[in-house]
Amino acid sequence: MIPQTPTEVTGPASTGSRATRVLGLLALVALGVLVLFGLILSPADASQGESVRIMYVHVPSATVAYIGCFLTTLGSIIYLWRKSRWWELVAYAGAEVATLFTVITLVTGMLWGRPTWGVYWVWDARLTSTAMLLLLLLGYLAVRRLPADYEVRAKRAAIVGLLLVPNVMIVRKSVDWWRTLHQKPTLLSNGLDSKIEGLMLFSLFTGFIAISLVFGWLIVHRFRLAWLEEQVESEGLDIAIAERRAEALIGEVAP
């Protein structure tokens, strides 16, 4: 992931490298194992029935979404502190991948809710704070993708990114308080806490491994893509200075 000194002069013509190919292969194998255990080998839950299988992808997705947010805040802090563009791009990659997994978390949560609660949406504390998380991430991405100079975008986005994790914590706390005053239907306390064992636990574990590998692979590729985007933007600065100086020479010849 760290841009290193070139080992060969001709770099790869994509965002891939030997390391990411190994990582990608591992992720694919893990996903295969996850399908095998999550959909075929593990039994249905006594109380939830088959819909417990949604948990094996839902819970890991929620976890990596939070990890992505954490990367965004961490990257933003280091960018503001050290002026490190590298970390700024990590923050950007983290936010975008986190957005993907937040959407996945929301959709799978709703699809789990329909057979369990009979409706797609209830104002469950976790579901609500995940929706708020999505809105906060979209705000960050809106600033980061502003049509403006890199410095302007990066600095403003970094302030928003810096406050992302504190905001997520405050929103979660407030939504928890807000809901728990009335009822307590959260995904985990309703389903998995009590009698999870054996193959089901192993399936969930496989889910964490597989989704984490996918997350890592996506972060590396998205980071490298952001790196390329930035290179394309700053490309040709030397040429621009030379052209500007040439203007001066022409000016001297023609008085």
Binding site: P6, G11, P12, T15, R53, I104, L111, W112, L218, L228
Partner: protein, 43 residues
């Protein structure tokens, strides 16, 4: 009886991750051509 929701969730998970991955990789390939090799410092 809930298999429909299970399959739908898994398809959405695998589909969206797959689509995002493909988009990222393809865009990476396209941009790579515009950047000189010495600035793509990974191997």
């Amino acid at each position: 009886m809930n298999w429909g929701y299970v399959i739908a969730s898994w398809i959405i998970v695998f589909g969206s991750i797959g689509a995002y991955s493909v988009a990222t990789v393809l865009r990476g390939r396209r941009l790579s051509r515009q950047v000189p090799p010495e600035k793509r410092r990974w191997s």
